[in-house]
């Protein structure tokens, strides 16, 4: 029982883990993609700085060419771009005669001239030979910087030079709102993360670790390497916390589902208990009804010499409530008085009415009244308008000495008589049921019986079926009785009952008497 809840919990945790992992993987891929994109954008931005360096140098070189190396003109021009607070810290002009290592004009103090002459010459030769920006590595100098050389378009001619300083400690914090403020990045001269060739970084923790993207940035005849890393989540805080949200929500839902399942299981077992209790109560009620019923019916029937008497009662499928069927056999002076009756309806009222009729009939029988008189007297006890019940009653007095039977019926069908293996329905004068009118008169009929005859009286549970006439039902009873005519009386009753009350929801009473055969 607990296992279902445990399985649900495990399944929930597994599904949650899977979803969390999927969300995390998606987030990871997304962050990689965004970082690469941002790094490319940053590299493009860095690359776009090239013209801002190249253009003034190209102009200076052209100016020198056009003025035939007018140093004053160069200095005027260069002082606009170089010096304190300007783009460059210093600028200089060489002729393309690379053996002359001294510049013909300078603005500010240039570090390049401190290089050994052959190194300086090498740079100048490279600058003259390269028809684009030549980057000079001054990163290992006491005042580190970067130099840029640009030649005039006609050669021999001139070579313009500018130097820029690096930020203190080569780090520069990006400010909130600046472009790429959600990135940490470092820029190296060349193609590797060589600490000595660091140009600029936004963080002192180098090299940058964790999720990084590298992007080369061609710059003149050289190149920079941009290494970028996200400061937080590039996809936004929601994307970053989505796996956590899924994990927490999934676990919460799993817990809820597990609780709900446990409650459902508990409820179900409660319902099962209740249903058992209800079944028990029904059983008890059925037992009570049947106990009452048994006590309302005779517990023993008289067995006078020469006559066998037997009876059956079946509560029917509605055995929950007391039925109104009864039978009785009373010993009177010269024989027996048989009564079988059926009070309409079910329940305590029907049972009480039945008991009243039964015990009254006994009293009237013992007073010696004839069957028709007994019925009339019973009719004075019951009023359908008042009690909601009426009763059909068959009353028979048996003269044992003469094998005569005197019958009176209050709306009750006559008995089946078996003689010589043949069964027939004894006709009766059907008088009004008991309880419909007071003071009814009943007509008695009298029949003489053969030795060994069997008489079977019964109530409507035995013959009444929906959708068929009473006569068809009675004929079925007659045939069944005839089928078992040779059986012992008890067996006959059992057989008839078993074969006919099977599908009946009504209660059924059968009363049988048999005269012993004279030959026995």
């Amino acid at each position: 029982v607990r296992r279902a809840a445990a399985v649900a919990a495990l399944a929930g945790v597994a599904v949650t883990a899977l979803l969390t992992w999927a969300a995390w993987a998606a987030h990871d891929r997304n962050e990689d993609r965004l970082l690469e994109q941002r790094a490319r954008e940053a590299a493009a931005t860095l690359g776009s700085a090239l013209p801002s360096i190249q253009t003034p140098l190209a102009s200076a070189a052209e100016l020198a060419q056009a003025t035939g190396g007018d140093t004053a003109a160069f200095e005027r021009f260069a002082s606009r771009i170089a010096g304190e607070g300007k783009q460059f810290r210093a600028a200089a002009l060489w002729t393309s005669d690379v053996d002359a290592t001294a510049p013909i004009a300078t603005v500010g103090s240039i570090g390049l001239v401190d290089e050994p002459p052959d190194v300086l010459r090498g740079y100048l030769q490279q600058g003259v030979a390269t028809p684009q920006l030549t980057v000079v590595d001054l990163l290992d100098r006491p005042e580190p910087g970067l130099g840029y050389l640009f030649p005039s378009t006609q050669q021999p001619g001139y070579l313009a030079y500018a130097e820029s300083a690096l930020s203190p400690n080569r780090t520069q914090q990006t400010r909130q709102g600046q472009a790429f403020d959600n990135l940490d990045f470092a820029v190296y001269l060349g193609g590797s993360q060589d600490p000595a060739r660091l140009v600029l970084a936004t963080t002192p923790q180098l090299p940058i670790r964790g999720r990084t993207a590298q992007e080369p940035v061609p710059f003149g005849d050289s190149s920079f390497l941009l290494v970028a890393s996200p400061k937080g989540s590039l996809g936004g805080p929601l994307m970053a916390s989505l796996p956590w949200i899924i994990a927490i929500a999934g676990l919460a839902m799993t817990a809820l589902a597990t609780l709900a399942i446990r409650r459902l299981i508990d409820r179900r077992s409660e319902a099962e208990n209740l249903s058992h209790q209800i079944e028990d109560l029904y059983d008890r009620q059925r037992t009570i009804a049947q106990t009452l019923q048994r006590n309302l019916l005779p517990d023993r029937l008289p067995q006078p010499p020469g006559i066998e008497v037997a009876a059956r009662y079946d509560a029917g499928t509605q055995g929950m409530e007391i039925g109104g069927d009864w039978y009785d056999v009373v010993e009177v002076d010269d024989g027996l008085l048989l009564v079988i009756g059926d009070v309409s309806g079910r329940g305590l009222g029907a049972g009480a009415t039945m008991a009243e009729l039964r015990f009254s009939a006994r009293a009237y029988a013992q007073e010696g009244h004839a069957p028709d008189v007994i019925l009339t007297k019973l009719g004075n006890l019951l009023d359908v308008g008042e009690h909601g019940h009426f009763a059909t009653v068959l009353c028979a007095r048996i003269d044992m000495a003469h094998r005569r039977i005197e019958l009176a019926s209050a709306g009750h069908p006559g008995p089946v008589l078996v003689e010589g293996g043949r069964a027939r329905l004894l006709p009766v004068h059907a008088g009004m049921p008991v309880g419909v009118q007071s003071g009814c008169d009943y007509a008695a009929s009298s029949v003489e019986l053969a030795p060994g005859a069997t008489l079977l009286a019964f109530t409507d549970g035995l013959y009444e079926r929906r959708g068929e006439s009473v006569d068809e039902g009675l004929e079925r009873v007659r045939r069944r009785v005839e089928d078992h005519a040779d059986a012992a009386l008890e067996v006959l009753l059992d057989q008839v009952l078993a074969q006919l009350v099977d599908e009946s929801d009504d209660d059924t009473a059968i009363l049988g008497i048999r005269w012993q055969s004279p030959t026995v």
Binding site: S344, G411, M432, G467, S469
Partner: protein, 113 residues
């Protein structure tokens, strides 16, 4: 089980006059359709209670009644016991035989008999 049972009350003017309206007024006619048993007899009882007070004649049209058990008889007998004159119109052979064998033809008269 049976189809749902209908208990309808056509207006007196629409129904053929029954044969026992003593004061000349047309009797109430109730038509019951389907099956009348313990599950629905209380509906007929309520109707009969209404229309047989104090004691008029009521005609129960049984032309479309397939089955009736003792619950049905009980409610009609209750009305008869209160003094109502209950007339059964066109009962099926099954219903007619039930009334006959129960010895009730004097109380629940069958129209035309």
């Amino acid at each position: 089980m049976a189809e749902p049972d209908g208990v309808t009350v056509p207006s007196p003017a629409q129904s053929a006059p029954a044969d026992s309206a003593q004061n000349g007024a047309a009797p109430h006619v109730i038509k019951i359709i389907g099956e009348l048993d313990v599950s629905n007899a209380h509906r007929l009882r309520a109707l009969l209670d209404d229309i047989t007070t104090p004691a008029p004649t009521v005609v129960i049209d049984m032309s479309e009644l397939a089955f009736m058990d003792s619950s049905g008889l009980t409610v009609m007998l209750e009305a008869a016991r209160r003094g109502a004159s209950v007339v059964l119109r066109q009962p099926s052979p099954v219903v007619r035989r039930l009334v006959e064998i129960t010895g009730l033809t004097d109380v629940l008269r069958i129209e035309g008999d």
